[in-house]
């Protein structure tokens, strides 16, 4: 095989996610009364970027064959924290942003410590830490409120040069700063390897534990970037339980749509980002086709159910029934 065909085989899932998104977005824009304008793109981008950050967080953990059911709650917690800290002048705002990102990282580190070094099952451990994170969020914001540095918020949610949505640029910057170095580092490769086959990775002497730990920690950081952006969009902090749960759920949906294998070892953050975009476009499609908004949760649920069921097609290729039990 030629080199590019290897590359294509590796990136097939990601390219499929990009394709799904492109088709859906094209249908959306074609039916939108305003058409393909900078404003329509900006609104769509701002809505999608939040889920994209949370989905990136989920992807890092899913690649190691784990799961983080607390990402939505870290997202909510950092939103509440940002509504207290990211205020005032340039200096205070910078410190506030650093503090918010630091606390997101700390949440991720705590998850990592409990799951990797405490050897607990990620599902139960992250549900429990998620409850604690939500409790802290509620402590910070018993009632919705607070404020944020509006200059910074408007700069990051507006348009660069009047065309490009600034939130998309920020998303790209995070991908360049966090994902690219991670996926190319030894620990990043070890994260893939341990998700693909942990015994094999162990036998090859890869730093499995450090890789998984880093994945959980970075997931916390990425979720907190999402929380920061939520504050920039809403100008307030709110400890909304339903919203936290919904983001956790949608992050899994985005990851699946983005072609990241829930069994670990396959997929990329880029795919998950486009999965998130596609998932958000589903909601927008309902809107342009004038569906009753009441049907939106059901529609999203059905799409999620179909998306996870598609993974079952691999079963038709199974020659030996024992392979069912992996």
């Amino acid at each position: 095989m030629k080199e590019w065909r290897f590359w294509l085989a590796e990136q097939r899932q990601t390219l499929m996610a990009i394709g799904i998104f492109a088709v859906m977005f094209a249908i959306y824009v074609a039916n939108h009364p305003a058409g393909f304008t900078a404003n329509v793109v900006q609104t769509a981008a701002n809505k999608s970027v939040l889920l994209a950050f949370v989905a990136m967080a989920q992807t890092l953990v899913v690649i190691t064959a784990g799961i983080d059911l607390s990402v939505g709650m870290i997202f909510i917690l950092t939103n509440c924290l940002a509504s207290w800290l990211v205020v005032g002048g340039a200096g205070a705002t910078t410190l506030g942003v650093i503090a918010v990102l630091g606390s997101g990282l700390a949440c991720g580190i705590l998850n990592g410590l409990i799951v990797i070094y405490g050897r607990l099952q990620p599902i139960v451990a992250t549900i429990a830490t998620g409850a604690a994170y939500f409790g802290i969020a509620l402590l910070l914001r018993p009632y919705p409120g607070g404020s944020v540095n509006e200059d910074l918020a408007d700069a990051l949610t507006g348009k660069l040069f009047g065309v490009v949505p600034a939130s998309l640029v920020a998303l790209a910057a995070v991908v360049l700063v966090v994902w690219v170095p991670f996926s190319r580092s030894v620990l990043g490769r070890a994260a893939y390897a341990s998700g693909s086959s942990e015994p094999a990775a162990y036998m090859s002497g890869m730093p499995i534990r450090r890789a998984k730990f880093l994945a959980y920690a970075l997931a916390g950081l990425l979720a907190s970037i999402g929380g920061l952006f939520l504050t920039f969009f809403t100008y307030t902090g709110e400890a909304a339980y339903a919203s936290g749960n919904a983001y956790t759920l949608f992050s899994i949906a985005a990851v699946v749509l983005g072609g990241v294998s829930l069994f670990g070892g396959k997929g990329s953050v880029i795919g998950a980002i486009f999965g998130a975009f596609a998932f958000r476009t589903i909601g927008d499609l309902l809107f342009v086709f004038d569906f009753d908004p009441l049907w939106q949760p059901l529609f999203q649920g059905v799409v999620l159910l179909i998306a996870v069921s598609l993974g079952a097609f691999g079963l038709f290729r199974v020659r030996n029934r024992l392979e069912w039990f992996g």
Binding site: G118, R119, G135, L249, G301, S309
Partner: protein
Amino acid sequence: MSDITGERGMERRLPKFIRRIDPAVATAFGCILLLLAVGSIYSTSFLSVEYLLQQLKVASFLGVIATGMMIVILLGQIDLSVPWSVAVGGMMACAAAAFGHVGEVLAIPFGILCGMAIGLTNGVGVAYLRIPSMIITLATNAVAQGLMVVYTGGFSPQDSATTAMRYIATGFLVPGVPNAVFIWALIGAAAVFAFTRTTFGRSVYAIGNRERAAYLSGVDTRRVVLIAFVVSGGLSAFGGVLLAGYASKAAQSMGDTYLLPSIAAVVLGGTSILGGRGSYLGTVAGVILITLLQSILSVMQMPEAGRQIIYGVVIVAMLLVYGRQRRTE
């Protein structure tokens, strides 16, 4: 885990009946006594018979739901569709009650049947399509939520519970002992019988230990997994029916507060989250433990935020004490 030989050596010196006790179950019962002691400091009425029976009644709702969760966890799977299975059970039973006399008779079975339908979807996904249980149950939970939102039009449901539903949740067949406690006792007895005396129960343990081995031993593993999820969905919905009877009506988010407690009750009771190990006595202990913890936090007038934090911390702490996995290396 490293000093297994040391533990064995110590165990051999103990009398046989003590050796047979699961340390996790013993720890859970120890914690219950500790909580009772702490509670009696805060309020003198904490140890009164009426208060404890009231707690037992509240515990029985969680107990019914946790029984279903336990079957699924014993398989090494998990059921995250509990919140909306509970809500669907309560809401559909109340909805059926609105259809005159026939509806009133069929209210309870209809609610349970709707929960079993959710369980059936989960079971088909896990057993036949081999989708990870965590994912498919999250998805069916979302679909159930969507269906209920469409059904109610986004408002809180208007139908109220039938007299039969109220009776089984809050009535008294024997003076002093709430009916809900009897219901839990009946379901618990059925679960113990199923786990220890039936092929189905033994197959559940076998699959939890190693599905491949169970399959090769001639167990129809897919059917057992399917049935387990249907039972879990049905029990969650039945818990919802009881809750609706208790509150005289169903509410949209009535199940949200039952997901973490039901998992925690099972795991704190010593059932391995990886499946294959655990006893129903442990789950009973876990349910009572969680209920008492909630009750003490409310007696202490702890706000919701503090409750969530303590909840998460206690569960992680107890799991770290005895719920750790073996080293993979």
